[in-house]
Amino acid sequence: MSATETDERSWTAGLRRRAVTALPPEKLLPDQQPSYVASWIYVFGVLSLSALVVIITSGSILALKGPAWWHLTGIGHFFNSVHLWSVEIFFFVMVIHLWGKYWMAAWRGGRARVWITGAVTFLVAIPCALTGYVSQQNFDAQWISTQAKDAMNAVGIGAFFNLLDFGQMYSWHVLLLPAAVVGIVIAHVLLVRKHGVVPPFKLPDASPTEDVSP
């Protein structure tokens, strides 16, 4: 058996072929975009990604230092605030991104999975934020957890998702839900790269244009 035949039959070679076919380098990291992408409404997806990077970075620092640090030191207060406000900005710009894509009908042209992964990211980010509020280790967290537990019990998931169980909520907040958000966001971005940015609706008398801008 030659080396070439071994390559052809190995699962790594097969996976590589599929990956390069789906996302060739010029599609994965393009240096040009269609002219219609030059609009502020397209900026909010990138702003969401930027806020997510700040969230993960500040959250990692908080996880390393612990509750006494983020409650009782000046620098701890600073990173606690950075984490909170990056989450607020994340939801703010993500909702505007969602509104923009909804009114553009961004699922057109075989982009259903792009739209679905974006919507699922928003839905998964909500419990990710909720578990953060109940992981603060203060009276605010106690108040939120005792109020929100009723909603969980009402929909029948209180036994599996117990807001009064700090250890469980902290695990969801620092590992499971952030990993889910980041994983779905990576899939979302790769799907956008694969299918391209959704074009605007064509005007009735518009001629097709192929112009691109760097």
């Binding site: 002219s35 609009s39 502020w40 207060h77 703010f92 505007i96 112009d211």
Partner: protein, 52 residues
């Protein structure tokens, strides 16, 4: 600890209209999002020509 810009030492203010009940702070954030959304659509993007 420095004081907050706003006095936060009171229960939140709420807007209550029929079955709708929402805090004033949430109303402000939603209105801000609508303003930024409209601005993102209407504001010219720097470096883009006016012809296309």
């Amino acid at each position: 600890m420095p004081a907050a810009i706003f006095n936060l030492n009171h229960p939140a203010h709420y807007v209550h209209w029929h079955f709708v009940q929402i805090s004033v702070s949430n109303v402000i954030v939603i209105v801000l999002m609508l303003i930024v959304f409209a601005a993102a659509i209407l504001a010219p993007f720097p470096g883009r020509g006016g012809s296309s």
